[in-house]
């Protein structure tokens, strides 16, 4: 029996649910594997020794998260950074847009429904000042981004790993799976998503709506664009962006819109109405993305 562990750090638990979303295949998986540790499902309180495959989801937010991650690494043969938070910090990384003091104030002292109070500090674990993707604080064997990874991918990757086979991991961007038509249009305005009704057949970027499909790793089957919603980049940066030092989500999207519209690059930049939440929403916490020379993350974060 292959021994599996699931550990969550600062996360939403969507990653754990994505494993349960194997549905009936979960039973097949359990033919060859045993869940030895998973606080969401089983009552084992301490991380056991000799884990074969451990999945860690979420980002590192406090000392307790950090301690558990270190222990899990030590006790696991294969450690997978599972989901976009573990790989790049995910949405939780947006907290880095504000200083810790600003955040604390909003929650406990300057909040319309709360009696102003001190920040809790008894028994609860000490917090770290910024968000760290789990994958940056431990040696990782596989990075598997996705918010959460889709059940098809989970099946195609987790089951071969359990059977000791090499998984086949897709490498394309979201655009590769999107059926919308990209075309050059003489438009001169970026639209907010609440303005107008986008044509369901045409590429969002070609219509002036910000869509990150071309800059995002696609293992999702372009589900959002099929449902009428532009890509928000939840799968993490595309391999092209990860590999090329001068490629970044921001410059990739700005230059694509420039090519598709009649706006000069400067005008596109001027009209870009939000960068922190819209462009870097899922990777603000990532040093890989922050350390690129062309990255705007250093200008956005407050440490």
């Amino acid at each position: 029996m292959v021994k599996i562990a699931l550990e969550w750090l600062a996360s939403c638990s969507g990653c754990e649910i994505s494993v349960l979303d194997l549905h009936e295949d979960l039973l097949k998986l359990l033919d060859n594997a045993e869940i030895v540790y998973a606080p969401v499902l089983v009552d084992t309180k301490e991380i056991p020794d000799d884990i074969d495959i451990a999945l860690v989801s979420g980002s590192v937010r406090n000392q307790e998260n950090k301690r558990r991650l270190g222990e899990l690494r030590e006790k696991s043969k294969i450690l997978i950074a599972y989901g976009t938070c573990a790989c790049y910090g995910g949405i939780t990384g947006m907290a880095d847009l504000y200083s810790p003091e600003e955040v604390t104030k909003r929650i406990y002292s300057d909040n319309p429904s709360t009696e102003p109070s001190e920040v809790p500090s008894e028994v609860v674990p000490e917090l770290l000042p910024i968000v760290h993707p789990a994958g940056e604080l431990a040696e990782i064997d596989y990075y598997l981004p996705g918010c959460p990874p889709k059940e098809g991918v989970v099946k195609d990757i987790l089951i071969p790993l359990i059977n000791g086979e090499k998984p086949n991991i897709p490498k394309k961007s979201v655009c590769a799976d999107c059926s919308r038509k990209m075309e050059h249009k003489e438009f001169n305005t970026l639209h907010r998503r609440v303005e107008g009704e986008p044509d369901p057949e045409k590429c969002f970027l070609s219509q002036g709506y910000v869509c990150l499909g071309s800059a995002t790793l696609g293992r999702c089957g372009a589900l959002c664009t099929r449902a009428g919603i532009p890509c928000h980049g939840c799968g993490g940066p595309s391999l092209d962006i990860l590999r090329e030092p001068n490629h970044d989500i921001y410059n990739c999207i700005i230059s694509r819109i420039t090519h598709l519209s009649k706006m000069p690059e400067k005008e596109v930049e001027k009209q870009m109405y939000d960068i922190g939440h819209l462009i870097y929403g899922f990777c603000i916490g990532s040093s890989i993305m922050e350390d690129k020379k062309v990255s705007l993350i250093p200008q956005l974060v407050k440490k």
């Binding site: 937010r61 947006m94 406990y108 009696e115 998503r193 449902a227 919603i229």
Partner: protein, 482 residues
Amino acid sequence: MKQIEVNPVTRIEGHAKITVQMDDDGNVSDAHFHVMEIRGFEKFLEGAAVEEAPRITPRICGICQTAHHLSSAKATDAVFGLEPPETAKKLRELMLMGQYIHSHSLHFYFLGAPDLVMGPDSDPAERNVVGIIKKDPELAKMAIKTRAVGQRITAAVGGKPIHPVTAVPGGQSKALSAEERDELLKDARNAVELIENGLKIAKPLFEEYSDAVESLGPVKTYFGGLTDSGKLSFYDGSMKIVDKDGSAVHEFEAADYLDYIEEKVQPWSYLKFPYLKQVGFPDGNYRVGPLARLNIVDSIPTENASALYDEFKDKYGVAQNPLLYHYARLIELMYAGERAVELLEDQDITGTDIISTINEPLMTRKDAETSDVTMRGVGIIEAPRGSLIHDYQTDGAGIIQKANLIVATGQNNLSMDIGVRETAKAMIHGDEISEGLKNRLEMVIRAYDPCLSCATHMLNGESPLVVDLHDSNGKLFKREII
């Protein structure tokens, strides 16, 4: 003095621990439920275009993501003054039924039931869903199938099973095709049958463990939840509060919540403690979620669930015992299945008029800087774990200036804390504390199905603990956290 710890509390969503303090005579002097984790959504939503909130906030929780998605979308409808077309409202309600079918069956079968099916004192290595798979594979398959129906509904209506995206200000971005409707209708009818079978197995457990039902987590409180003129309603309605005897004390609209609800901070938990403002803390302690909803409504408007509700009310009246949350959850699971069938049988559900849009372009961010215009929207919904409020204030361009969230689990925080303490005091004497006894403390927490991912949407760090080492070119080469 000695301290007993249960850490982490398992088979719940998120990070928590229980501590029990013993005096020198071996009696419990105090006990608490501590929520250990926090993130920061209320702050980091600031600066985001408000229409982005419905796709940012589902990441608060991967289990009740649809509830956040919809409460957030309702808040954005209000910000822009948009009324979604009827079909859009029905699609949203259907998506919410998918949420309930998934979340309630996840909680009962995968998290809560192992304590009752395997027994509170059973081997902890077996006391989980894998144990159930081994002991009763048919029951496990039924659980998996029921939950899968919920996820399929969410995927078809919301675009994805986890973190749906289709609710936008003014309506929905995706219509439901006739083929999708046909598939889902088959699924939903099948789910009603599966739930019926599940209830046959589950109901006797509350008799079998009536001692635990009566003794674990005792507390008496007010209750709150949405209702549509006295009927159970998850997507819309006014918020009603009843006292411990079931008499109505407040009924108010979402936008007025600040007149009725206030939150207290305690130094030993990151999770705040909401209470009824006009009663005060701690007497104004109220609970939300399945049991609260059955206590505030007069009826459930679907056939099977209505019969189950009557039977439950006859037996328990205004129910206070936390373990009855499980029972109430199963009754609601039936309602969600039946309501999904009703919505799918409704001709409107495949309609294509699904969005109302704003008539003129938004103010630019630059113009908003010099304008006094502000907008505000409050959304409220019944999440599986209870009432969920999203409140956004924006500038004239619809950029969020302030956000406030009151999540379901917070509203049960004080009752979980009291429940743990009272249970510990009644059951723990002397030094020998069995594993089964510790598990009973966890059972108190589990009954509420707390979602600490939701509850800990709040904040981030305080003091600098990171050491960055840079090379001579100023490039970061090592980051240490101490």
